[in-house]
Amino acid sequence: MFLLFLGLIFFTAISTSMGYLKIPVSDVLKVLAYEVTGDRSFVSQVNSVYQYVIWDVRLPRILTSLIVGAGLSICGVVFQAILLNPLADPYTLGISAGAAFGGSIALLFDINWFGIYSVSIFAFLGALGTLIAVLGISRSSGTFSSHTLILSGIIVSAILSALISFIKYMADEQVAVLIFWLMGSFVSKSWTDVAVTFSFVIAGFLVFLFFARELDIICLGDRTASSLGIDPERIRIILLITASFVTAVCVSVSGIIGFIGLVVPHLMRFFFGSKSERLIPASALSGAILLMGADTITRAFLPREVPIGVITAIIGGPFFCYIFVKKSRSEY
């Protein structure tokens, strides 16, 4: 766990130095020292362009990717446990489809009531609307069990994706923008994005850690959970709403980035076991490293920016296969 943390810091520094403009790691550290302490002597020998690139362009983007990676990964852990399905991810309940729908509407009708944040805010509202719809449908059947939740998620997602297809069909010229946004990107993220995602993700993280043991216990079934003094329905609702908020914020900032929320918790189970008190911090750290790594690849190595969702799937998929095959072999 501590190694993961060191890795995170190490890769952040490396990543900041990489890009179209190569900047020595030492200069990165100097700029950081200046911004933190306010002591000008740190940057007396650093090119002022570097200073701008590091502090105003690269760091916000890198930090956003870190935070979103951590956010999606911890939500993955929570959704897998609540839905009792190790193949669930933050998008299983249709949150992504809802966000995509909201964002698409904003893009299609060129809505800019909220300036440059319009698309994000619409995406967020779309995600929340979906959550309310899914919970509503699930509730009508009496209980919030994993079955009813997954089923309502599928229903709502199906309707939404049909609507999104319709919007794409209507969009004509904007369709490229729309598709690019849907596939996810961290281009031109600001410190505001960093602040917003950070506050939601850290709040979610704390709530998840607080209920980590209850989360494990509700995986054993409602009767066992009740006999251990836990109200499974209540815990499910609290964690579901929290995780959906965190997911909605992540999606609204960066678009739909698949795979992280599914693969990271899975991989971490191999190394850290399934207990949430360990799995959640481990997933947060490694998800952060993974998504930042993927973003660095698209930003610094590839000749053109490729949507980050594509990178995560291309790298994550084969890696996941490798681990999966290797693990299966060692067992049988």
Partner: protein
């Protein structure tokens, strides 16, 4: 003089979806310190009755008292320290290690963020040895057989170390050797530690061998209840299960063995 543990006062329960009462005006007093067995045909209300006793379901009418106080007035955490529960269906899809699941049994006694105490770990260790699952400790629950899983969940409930243990068909997936071993362990907990066990069970023979007292129910009503040696009779089994049988009495121990006869088709 035996002490009353549960008292049910004209308790009924019906599910929203059906008009039939799952439990129909049951009044009974369940005393402390015995191994109670609940037997009855499929759909007779055994699981519902256990759910009511454990406080998972609220009676549609009537009242349930536990240690003299109405069960609905207890806090969930308080009940968790008094009653443990072994469910009939148990399916876990998340790959927890067996030791993780066992320590969850100590949840009601642990602080939110505090690690397990040495006593918690001692209980896990000694009960694993008792149920012979020590060598499963590092295995994943998702890889175990049905019988192994049942032993793990019974161990999980024993780790909770409560005065009352409620079990719903705990031996349904076990071979006869494991079933006898596990029921022996529960009987031992009752006899030596003064606990009370209440178990729904299909196998009338196992009930006759291990349970001190039986509650026989059919269609949500109690047919009769009392000492196993007194009520496990050919006539009652014929009435309740519609099967002819012969009951062999072991008078020295009070155990009963039931030999069933074929039904003509």
């Amino acid at each position: 003089m035996s002490i009353e543990l549960f008292r049910l006062d004209k308790v009924s329960f019906f599910y929203k979806s059906s008009k039939k009462k799952a439990i129909d005006e049951i009044s009974i007093s369940i005393e402390k310190g015995y191994f109670w067995g609940i037997i009855g045909p499929n759909g007779s209300g055994k699981t519902t009755l256990l759910d009511l006793l454990a406080g998972f379901k609220k009676p549609s009418s009537g009242r349930i008292f536990f240690n003299g106080k109405e069960i609905l007035k207890y806090k969930k955490k308080e009940l968790a320290k008094a009653i443990s529960f072994v469910p009939q269906k148990f399916y876990v899809s998340i790959p927890f290690q067996v030791k993780d699941i066992l320590i969850m049994g100590r949840h009601p006694f642990m602080g939110r963020f505090s690690p397990p105490s040495s006593y918690d770990l001692y209980l896990v260790k000694s009960i694993s040895e008792l149920l012979k699952i020590s060598d499963l400790s590092d295995r994943y629950i998702t890889e175990l057989s049905g019988g192994e899983i049942q032993r793990v969940i019974i161990a999980r409930a024993l780790v909770q170390d409560t005065p009352v243990i409620i079990l719903d068909e705990p031996t349904s997936n076990m071979d006869i050797s494991h079933a006898i071993e596990v029921l022996g362990i529960i009987q031992d907990q009752v006899r030596k530690k003064g606990k009370t066990a209440i178990m729904a069970i299909h196998d009338i023979n196992l009930a006759g061998m291990y349970c001190d007292k039986l509650i026989i129910i059919k269609d949500g009503r109690i047919v009769c209840y009392g000492d196993t040696s007194e009520i496990l009779e050919e006539r009652i089994i014929k009435d309740v299960f519609d099967v002819e049988c012969k009951v062999i009495k072991e008078n020295s121990t009070g155990e009963r063995y039931v030999l069933f006869k074929k039904k003509s088709v």
